[in-house]
Symmetry: C2
Subunit: 537 residues, 2 copies
């Protein structure tokens, strides 16, 4: 923005400007060297020389910023190669100090073979451990975003991987029935998931050999810590810059800290949720990159506003694409909304093509305002498109009905004539209007466990019913239902299930019209209840 500005980057590590989100792909071997993570897509390596000759920006790497003197507008820095301290002045300062891995308190955590995966150096250490297939057994502590991706990377390199998580599900950004589907896929691919479990101790001589979980000992040649990150705010705190309720640096919409000449961006700051308006900590590369652009504009005299975030995220674990945006149902309750949700499994493209793949979409809206609050989309098919369309819709404040009216581009290799997100919005609309009455698979499981007196009516084909069905369910083919209504009692709660939900809905409409007072559809059908049993169309 300003060719005359004197710009200096102070970086404590050797490397700068690398794609940290690509590190798991370096671990898996899909990316062969860290240098690839530092190039532009036109092939330039973003090193000191690049910044110097092309951008006219001075890079001081292996240099640590020790303190900010806000009165004199200067920073004390230390050259880590020479151990020399000096001072550097600023008119505008941008803090981009990032985050650091949370370290759980576990006995033996300082043994060799315990890694977090945060910097290039971590990844290089890990690659060394993996050489010669020494890491036969790996324990990953924490089944969040990074833990899940690293589990796949290490499993692909031939390790036996166990994920240990203290919660009752992995991937806390998902609702439980959606996380369950991903867990199924992990287990299908040989990754064991231990829930409600803590690593109580790490054992071994110098190097890790065993971990203790619930009084069992598991072999572990390698341990990955992925229990989350926290903002690196020590420099900001020392300079008395205001921190927010999340513990990260507080910024205004122009990305300024409590000192208007100091901006802060990336993993060290807290953002505003576009849905609740509240501060949230979202240490994500996509957010940081947008921060960077706006801060660059603003320190050179601009006034771009950064509106906030939706907590949009996506990961790939084996054949599953797993994505989420906005609030999940748990969070929506907690934030005081009246959430209503549906789960719709369906093909990602026209089902008659051999390339069609199953995806599950859970759409959450507020019953009062009918605005979309969030979505979770997972499965083998194209998840990424659906999550980004919904992210855009939420940004625009769209309601359920607005999604139904979207003019999305259709051809058989890309979607159904009515895309699954439109179908999901239609079902949600019907649910709010009372035409569709549904029960979540989690609630049905609770009812079955409590031995409630319900009728479970399965309307699938003979073939499907014989293959797998919910124990105790009765079977009536949908096309014979109108003639067999007298066989169903009107005084009991009836829960209808089919493969995905569409035929149950037909059955619901028939029963409702014929005076059955208490009928519900199993949301997401047998596919969601059991996890994936049939993969293609």
């Amino acid at each position: 923005m300003n060719e005359d500005a004197l710009i200096t980057i102070i970086e404590k590590d050797k490397s700068l400007s690398y794609a940290g989100c690509g590190l798991p792909y370096y671990i898996s071997g899909m990316v062969s060297e860290p240098r690839a993570l530092m190039t532009t897509h036109d092939g330039d390596i973003r090193d000191q020389e690049f910044f110097g000759k092309i951008k006219d920006i001075e890079v001081l790497n292996r240099t640590r910023a020790l303190a900010i003197d806000r009165k004199n507008k200067s920073i004390v820095i230390e050259d880590l190669k020479l151990g020399k301290r000096s001072e550097i002045n600023y008119d505008k300062l941008i803090l981009a100090t990032g985050s650091k891995a949370k370290m759980p308190r576990i006995k033996g955590i300082d043994k060799k073979g315990v890694y977090s995966l945060h910097r290039v150096e971590d990844a290089e250490g890990l690659r060394r451990e993996l050489r010669g297939n020494k890491a036969k057994d790996v324990v990953i502590i924490g089944g969040g975003l990074l833990g899940a991706v690293t589990a796949e990377a290490l499993s692909r390199r031939g390790s036996r991987v166990n994920i240990v998580d203290s919660c009752d599900q992995i991937l806390g950004f998902l609702d439980r029935e959606m996380a369950y589907l991903v867990q199924n896929h992990f287990e299908e691919r040989g990754v064991r998931v231990l829930l409600n479990s803590k690593v109580e101790a790490i054992r071994g001589r110098e190097h890790v050999e065993w971990v203790k979980v619930k009084n069992y000992l598991f072999r572990a040649d390698l341990i990955i810590l992925s229990t989350g990150v926290k903002p690196e705010v020590s420099l900001a705190r020392k300079a008395d810059l205001e921190l927010g309720s999340t513990g990260a640096i507080k910024i205004n919409k122009y990305l300024q800290t409590s000192d208007p000449d100091i901006y802060a961006i990336g993993d060290c700051v807290e953002n505003k949720s576009l849905i609740t308006g509240k501060p949230v900590y979202t240490p994500l590369g996509s957010v940081a990159t947008r921060h960077g652009r706006f801060a660059g504009i603003n320190v050179t005299g601009g006034s771009e506003e950064f509106p906030g975030v939706l907590n949009s995220m996506i990961i790939k674990v084996f054949d599953y694409n797993v994505a989420s945006v906005g609030l999940n149902e748990k969070e929506a309750f907690r934030e005081g909304f009246f959430p209503v949700s549906v789960i719709v499994p369906g093909p990602d493209k026209d089902h008659y093509l051999p390339t069609a793949k199953l995806i599950y979409i859970k759409l959450v809206a507020d019953r009062n305002s009918r605005k979309i609050l969030g979505a979770q989309v997972i499965g083998r098919g194209d998840v990424s498109k659906r999550i980004d369309v919904i992210a855009t819709a939420i940004s625009a404040g769209m309601g359920v009905n607005d999604i139904s009216k979207l003019d999305l581009a259709y051809a058989p290799p890309y979607s159904s004539a009515m895309d699954i997100i439109i179908t999901a919005a239609n079902v949600l609309h019907s649910k709010i209007e009372g035409n569709y009455v549904g029960i979540s698979p989690l609630k049905l499981k609770e009812k079955i466990a409590a031995k409630e007196d319900i009728i479970l009516l399965d309307v699938r084909s003979h073939y499907e019913y014989d293959r797998i069905s919910i124990p105790g369910s009765i079977h009536i083919l949908l096309n014979t239902l109108r003639g067999r209504l007298h066989q169903l009692p009107k005084n009991l709660e009836i829960i209808i299930c089919c493969r995905s939900g569409i035929n149950s809905y037909e059955a619901l409409r028939i029963l409702k019209a014929n005076g059955f007072p208490n009928v519900q559809v199993l949301d997401g059908g047998i596919l969601t209840f059991f996890g994936e049993i049939i993969e293609t169309y």
Copy 2:
């Protein structure tokens, strides 16, 4: 919506409710039988029995509606099997008469072997022609959406395919420089494209053997007519229902015709453009499907509004995904906007992954309002996501800057940390602000043809420059540019080119800051100028 309603479907053909957009995939053999196009994604065949037993809807197939008696609210119908006429009453009537293929006036068009591809019966006839590889040479008249898809289908079955189009480009919904890239891909895959050409005559004994184009004779064992469709409005016209300026049936936002008890939906109606507010004819399956749902709600007492369309479309031709939404630049000019556009080629996911593929995005906005007017996205990578996000953004009335602020979900296998649509919006923003000055590849080609006195400055690597470059361009490496500014004249127009545009922009900023008054970047770089020369990252 109403279990008590008596619902009748009148259909002149045998089959109903099939996925017409899937017919090219039946031609190519990817779908093995038309029955697959009539199933729901849970496996039910949508035949007469399905509608009868499950939906309680009577289907009169092989029955033609001859006339509507609006006064008495009845329809004269003819049973085509028995040749018997009768009358049927209605309270509410929905016209879904569809469209028919336009028939160009060509001598010999009635010969055997000339097909349009509109109904199941057309596709079955075509499949018979293809048996035993008799159709060695195929001529496709019209290089629009259907022509392009059919060209691929027939090429995949082993035919030599020629597309003949009377315009100066194929795929009229694209701007010319984008259509050129698709045409390149066709030719790479062995499909010949003849532009500015008309089939003047079809020759042969009973069956087609030759076509005459510009005084040349081409072998043709099979001819496909794909010069577009027109609405089937004869029933509506006879009933004095109002037709619109496009020739299709006029409807209001509730999908009612000029007779409030008669609704019309699908390919026989005209829609409202959400961008211009004007009537447009958009015979697309995605639009028809949404019409269908809303009409069903409205004839049973609801009042859902159908807001209009964006002309969103997407097709797959060989390895290329080709999509468009809203207005292209030509149309935007014609509609009185002040369009400003950019072309950004880039990877569809993080470029360091071996799965990354090139896509080109052209984003068009109005210079005054800064609102997005349309986009064209093409290439081997994930195009579909980008077009649907932009469709959603246009529906919400978003401006260029709103796209820059979208919180899209990021991980390396799905996008760059800053997705290419955000990059495109950023470039467009810079262009509107005057920080980026660009020239389209079409305009540069005109300047070169007119032998204008310009400096073409190529800032790519030696390797890239040696491989292919624009004749007459001078070569200065970007990282040496600051030291070699004295070699460039300040009195001439300088046009900078690089691979995609990012390095040209760096060069532009350097030259501008150093007092060069007349500098521009080649929009979309060498990749767009020459068509695709490097496919992976």
